[in-house]
Subunit: 209 residues, 2 copies
DNA sequence: GTAGAACATGTCAGTGACTGACACAAGACA
DNA sequence: TGTCTTGTGTCAGTCACTGACATGTTCTAC
């Protein structure tokens, strides 16, 4: 039954997606996935280090591309602009993948174990992004912070696009970045400069624990 | 051997921390933790839903306090300011807990399974924060985005404080928030860097890998 | 064309996380 | 005093995951 190596991999992923949709992640055993793909459980674990990972795959290739795209961005941009620009350069690809990602994301959303794994992937992405920013000369902690915020915004835009596809993903991204922008600006809103307020009651409600 | 219910819980946590430090998380079985605490494995799983959770506990109580603190913040602040203020109100408590958190955090840092769980906890915190912001009248998506960014900054400050305790946690938080602020502001600003342009990043670096 | 290496898979046995069911002890309470 | 509740131990079982080994298939060198 097994033929090409790539073929087996894809059969396993397809089988997993089907079964998860039919019975849910927890009610599906690795052996069942393997059986539907025409291999044994042992083979399943030769392709994927654990059961969760069968739903997370494209992300690896994306990281390298992401890193390269950040490196290639023009020189005269601030770090956050680099990220916006980079993420938007993936817009088309991601939009094209929506039919595949939609059911996948639906399963992840209702399965805590998978949400956990997805958070790990996002964190990994932030690490890669941070490192790519550092290579552009951004100071280390700044790079980490920017990456973290940027990935958060990216995820946020992705979720927004998922529940409202009437706007393009790029538009959602633009808005999310603008919102973040506005947030920071709002900080100084009550007319006087932020620095002057450093004295006022250094915020201590009576809660603890 | 088991005496009070709370007592057993704490013995289990202490035993787990000890064993994880001695042999590492993966080399420690739940049965061993239970044995050192003077109970059986089955009892361990009556106190904690899974092995990872034994290291994450205080966080539950913190969420309620966080939510309350956000609700109690003065009215005239932008959402991000509310968060900075709120987080800083926890400064003392967190600093006091450092001796307990330090070894714990060290173990988490070297154990992927635990890092994953910690990310889930942060995400849960973001959800709570977002909901608390919404109750203050912040629009839903804006609340989510603010919470996400705020928690990211909070985590970032925590990590920075961990590796450099010469500055207070509050100071790290202030700086992280200011950095985020600066990031957004920088967005619109074309920057000319000193030693850039001709050589550094514009020549496409190696692409592969 | 064939020997042998390299690779992909199957089989089997085993560990460890976690769960449900039941029995039992001790204190709370009627 | 007897019953009820609560916390625990015991046992059997499922499932994720792993190491070791045997077998088949494909690739390569000669």
């Amino acid at each position: 039954m097994p033929s090409g190596r790539q073929d087996v991999r894809e059969r396993l992923q397809a089988a997993a997606l089907e079964l998860f949709r039919e019975r849910g992640y927890d009610q599906t055993t690795a052996a069942e996935i393997a059986a539907r793909a025409g291999v044994t459980e042992r083979t399943f674990f030769r392709y994927f280090p654990d059961k969760r990972e069968v739903l997370f795959d494209g992300e690896v290739g994306m990281l390298a591309a992401l890193s390269a795209a950040i490196a290639d961005a023009p020189d005269n941009l601030g770090p956050m602009d680099v990220l916006l620009r980079t993420f938007r350069s993936f817009e088309k690809t991601i939009e094209k993948n929506r039919p595949f990602n939609e059911p996948r994301q639906a399963i992840i959303a209702v399965t805590p174990a998978l949400r956990e794994r997805q958070l790990l992937k996002s964190a990994a992405m932030a690490v890669v992004v941070a490192s790519a920013l550092e290579k552009r000369g951004v100071e280390r902690k700044m790079a980490a912070l920017t990456a973290q915020a940027g990935v958060a915004v990216f995820d946020h835009a992705g979720r927004a696009w998922f529940e409202d596809p009437s706007l393009s993903l790029g538009e959602h991204m633009k808005r999310a970045f603008q919102a973040l922008h506005g947030l920071a600006a709002q900080n100084a809103k009550p007319r006087s400069r932020t620095a002057s307020r450093s004295r006022t009651a250094s915020a201590r409600p009576k809660r603890h624990k």
